[in-house]
Symmetry: C2
Subunit: 146 residues, 2 copies
DNA sequence: TAATTTTGCATCGTGAACGATATAATTCAA
DNA sequence: TTGAATTATATCGTTCACGATGCAAAATTA
């Protein structure tokens, strides 16, 4: 068999696996507060800047609106955000944090550090992380054609 | 806002995004042959060693059987694999490649190289790839508790 | 201004992921 | 050997992802 067909030689499989396992590691920390990982990502975006249209949130996460719309509708049902038509542009749906959405920022304050520690190992540490970030950023930049 | 809450500072988001975008890059190459990326992963496992029980395939991919079972059922429906009860252990479901499954190996022979080239950039190349692989492998090893 | 194109969002269908649960076969222990 | 625990797989429900499509509002162009 050609060596390229070996799972061990494939970058995508590593990214796919590492991503899934790390998301799984977030699970207990987030489900405790009724959140999924993609919902947590939306919160990160809104904590940074509240009252954004669906499209801006989607772009920030490199997702399509057909993924983000139902996701945010579920968050609305949970009372984490509100959705209301844009005043300047009636096509836009502006997403705003509720008090509950802001409160979650306090409740989840230790999550980033906990997750950072979860991956610290011989080859990935405060010294080498920038290199890893650079490589992943370059891969993302190369692949996002839109 | 605490800097840890910035999307830019989070490893998981990078892995999640890079994984999704790279899987999307596989899409045109695979859908042409009626395959999805996870189905392609199952083929990689079976090309390496045919006639494996569901559990071995799942373990190799770090997935649960409740993900792999329906996935393989779909592949069976497409005529890519067959499923039959294990003779030694009647609980096992042995998955075997059909002729169509083996033929796909020839049809997809250029995929690994094409995907490798798709991510080559300044910081990720033949020289630096081993470092990236090592870091991702260490992260995976640290996270797979089972 | 009227007609056309583009944009922003929503809906639908399909295929993962994955927690929870069920079932049958095997193994282990009393 | 019988009963209990374990193992291998399957099923179910929910939530992403994402291609395809639809629709209304806005922007562009004739």
């Amino acid at each position: 068999m050609r060596p390229e067909f070996l799972l061990e030689n494939q970058l995508c499989f590593r990214l796919y696996t590492a991503s899934r396992l790390l998301t799984q590691a977030y699970h207990p920390l987030l489900s405790e507060h009724g959140l999924t990982y993609p919902q947590y990502l939306v919160l990160l975006v809104l904590w940074e800047k509240d009252a954004q249209p669906v499209n801006d949130i989607a772009k920030r996460l490199y997702l399509e609106t057909n993924t983000v719309t139902p996701l945010i509708q579920r968050m609305e049902k949970e009372g984490i955000v509100t959705r209301s038509k844009g005043e300047k542009d009636a096509r836009q749906m502006i997403v705003r944090l509720t008090k509950k959405g802001w409160d979650l920022q306090v409740e989840l304050v230790d999550v980033p550090t906990a997750m950072g520690n979860a991956v610290i190992c011989e080859s990935v540490n405060t010294e080498t992380a920038p290199e890893l970030f650079k490589m992943l950023d370059d891969i993302i930049a190369k692949l996002k054609t839109k």
